[in-house]
């Protein structure tokens, strides 16, 4: 009997210990399974997630700061089920750009953080290319819709020596990723297209080509376009395809914060495009990068602050300021993950796959807003090796899957 009590007592202690020290999945993801282990330390401070006072809410704490997490209507389903523990899936056990352990990520160089934050979440090196259709809405200050455009995009990354068969031999050591876009509508831009080729070397600017249906020719685009507006939109090439750390800019890591995804900011509000399923990073710890033009360089902003999730590594939000320190633009970025995309067999892609997702731009000076997001997302779409060439542009493709 005594042995049984001891055994049972030991079993109880073991059980109690396991409850205390093992991940409390019941608390982190009530009613759901699959949330990964939440990191306990991020950027040098303790981090925790516990159930909130109301059902379906969570209290997220990072150091002395805390927030109450609550699902927004437009959250992707897995995020709704798992709560902020959802971001832990990228904290460990995933390939580049998440290969660095989460407790080492704050020690990455600012340029590295920038590259992973934007380029390598936009254009994942872990899938063999992707394709989607994205819309661009330009909204006037009075709220009326000024323009609607649709673009097709196809992209591929070559980090780690992957996918080299898509590159000419003399470029294989140099090219980091390629982005192809085709304007689908309206009629005046329909058929215009281009290819951006980006390079590993910091001081080598991306190169662009541009095809216009009215002359049926591909021309090499005069460079130094990173700060220019992407055609027909109110975002820049810097926001779309020139997304690695640029040679004209200095990057500095200036701090961290518990990212709360302020719902009063355009793009974060519960009523902002509820049909566009996405992930906003609320509840993550965000690294804050400050970006300034190098001395002697004139840029479209004097300072930019960009927030990058430490777990997701994704770009979450940015603000740009002019020389007087006045806010000139505020951008919210939301990830759209693999669960919203398709693999070649029609199944959903792994949830941890990321894409550029959605951007909500609030131009403070003009009052215009630009809202854009992708859909019809396809991963590993079976792209032919010659897809990123001029010949694709001349063919004037009209819809996804044109290569099949």
């Amino acid at each position: 009997m005594r042995r049984l009590i001891s055994t049972l007592g030991l079993a109880f202690l073991v059980y109690a210990g396991s409850v205390s020290y093992a991940p409390d999945t019941a608390a982190q993801a009530p009613g759901a399974t699959g949330a990964a282990e939440v990191p306990k330390i991020i950027a040098g401070k303790p981090y925790s997630i516990t159930p909130g006072s109301k059902p379906g809410t969570y209290t997220v704490k990072w150091g002395d700061d805390s927030m109450t997490w609550e699902a927004k209507p437009w959250y992707e389903n897995t995020l709704k089920q798992q709560g902020p523990a959802y971001y832990a899936q990228w904290a460990s056990g995933k390939p580049f750009p998440w290969d660095t352990p989460v407790d080492q990520r704050d020690k990455l160089s600012p340029d590295e953080i920038m590259d992973r934050c934007v380029a390598w979440t936009y254009y994942g090196p872990y899938y063999k290319g992707a394709a989607d259709v994205w819309n661009n809405l330009v909204i006037e200050p009075n709220g009326s819709l000024r323009e609607t455009e649709h673009f097709m995009e196809v992209y591929m990354a070559f980090v780690g020596g992957k996918n080299q068969e898509y590159l000419p031999t003399d470029q294989q050591a140099d090219v980091s990723h390629i982005y192809l876009w085709v304007a689908v509508d309206p009629e005046e831009v329909r058929g215009q297209s281009g290819v951006t080729t980006d390079f590993y070397k910091r001081d080598q600017r991306p190169q662009d080509t541009w095809y216009t249906p009215t002359v049926r020719k591909v021309r090499r685009l005069a460079g130094a376009v990173s700060k220019q507006f992407f055609p027909g939109t109110i975002v820049r090439y810097e926001d779309v395809s020139h997304v690695r750390a640029l040679p004209d800019l200095d990057y500095k890591l200036v701090g961290f914060e518990l990212y709360k995804a302020d719902p009063t900011v355009h793009g974060n509000g519960p009523a902002d495009y509820p049909d566009v399923k996405r992930v906003d990073g609320a509840g993550e710890v965000a690294a804050i990068l400050e970006i300034t033009p190098k001395p002697g360089v004139s840029w479209w902003y004097a300072k930019r602050r960009i927030k990058c999730g430490m777990e997701s590594a994704a770009y979450l939000e940015s603000e740009e300021y002019d020389e007087k320190g006045q806010a000139q633009r505020h951008v919210v970025h939301a990830i759209i993950t693999g669960s919203e995309g398709k693999m070649p067999d029609g199944s959903a892609a792994p949830d941890w796959y990321q894409t550029w997702g959605a951007l909500f731009v609030d131009d403070k000076k003009s009052g215009f807003k630009g809202d854009m997001w992708l859909n019809q997302l396809q991963f590993d779409p079976g792209l032919p090796t010659s897809i990123f060439t001029n010949d694709t542009l001349v063919r004037e493709p009209r819809k996804l899957g044109f290569w099949k």
Partner: protein
Amino acid sequence: MRRAEVSRADFVLVTIMAVVFSLSTWSVERANAYQLTDDLEVRGTYKMESYFRLPDGTRNIFNPATETFSREHLDHLMSQRNEFRLDIEWTPNTKKWGDGIPPIKVVAQLRPWYDSDWQLSSEGQGRYQQQLWSYWGNNLQHPFTGDATGNDPVFREYYIDITPPHFFFRIGSQIIAWGKSDGVYMLDILNNFNLRNPTIFEEENIKIPVWAANMNWQPWVGANLQLIWMPQWFPTYWPGLRLANNEPVEGGYHDWTYGIVSDFNNFYNGQFGFKVPIALKTPTIKPTDWIGGARWSDSVGGLNYTLNYLYTYTTGYIDYPNTGSFATATGVIREPHRMQVIGGSIDYDLETGHESIDGTVLRVESSETVGDQYYQGIVGNPKYVSHWGVLMGVDKNVLGDYLERPVFASVQYWHDMVTNQDRCNNCGAESGKFEDLGFTGSEAGMRGVYKSLMTVFLEKNWLEGDVVITDFFALYELQYHDWWIRPKVTYKYDDNTTFALGFNIFAGSPQTPYGQFTNSTNAFIELRRQLF
């Protein structure tokens, strides 16, 4: 007969306008109605362009009936053209048909058009409805051919694209563009032009589609071998070309008749007291008359290059005097001459580390044209020439440090140099020179062995969403000292509608290629509306 033709054309036009109006009012609410099925997409666009002459002037016109010249007032309305463009694209899911069947796309473009200038104006070219309207006023009477040479038909482009791995085939009536030049055509002569209005920039609207097998092989990434087979030649089609009863029926009546064309037409129509009949000979579709070309493109060290070869004909008909000299001709044979074009092009993006230089694109295009024909000396007998053309272009975005949206700037230099020519003992005075586009009888309209020009193009977008686009083009010929300047502003009213206002300003001596159009300096407006 003409009344019946006018009635038929009017009926077709009214029908089209009724359909267009109905569709436009219905389709305003249904912006995406064009996707009829998953595979089939149909789009309709209406375009209006109107040109208004600014100078108030007169012109000398030759009357073939009286064989005399007279002075007449120029019209101010040069053109009021209405086009409806229907694009049909069918992209079937070929996987349903079986494994191994490559992707295909079938494209058809229809473009009926109608120019109401001859109904609205009774001056200038508006007086010559009988001679001009059937072929320059509409393509509704000849919907399948436009006219006998098919220069602006209702059915423009129609082709099938077949894309097996590493290959691309486009078979059918199409436009194929070569070269890296803007507005200068050395390599880019697979499609000749309808010169109804030589100021139009949108080449897809004025190039004449050709039947072709356009075959491409991509042996490795970035490389492409293109083979072109064209069974039928379509000439450059200029006002004044057309014949009726072996006589130039259009004289110099059309507003955009080149000086050299009216000069020749006046001669043929009896300026010197006798008519000179013209026999037209057009290459057939027999194998001996085919056109073929090849282009290799690749990239090395960041430099994109092409190598081009084309076995073709002169871009237009050549008039050959039956006696060997126009001084004694009693008849003319009008036919093209076999010609070969050998050349290439490169472009390169400069990256030197200097901000003022980085991002500059250099373009070079060059060709040797063998077997061309130039009209030599004051008599203007057609003679064999070979000539070497070179274009150098520099493109850069400028003022990016000062403007929210920088200015795209492009500067080009082009020259053409005769490298080989026949000696001409019966070409009269100035036998070492050649009659150019503005020639009307004197040396002032003649070029030498060497001819060059420069162009500048500037473009800037304005306002959020790039809703306003301004562009400025200028051309200057270094030997003739004549000019063409073209500013234009385009406004995107909404997603489906754009308006544009522009000017074409010409200056120079009356016999120079651009100076000849001084009295055709004009303002123009355009409206485009996507219907569905």
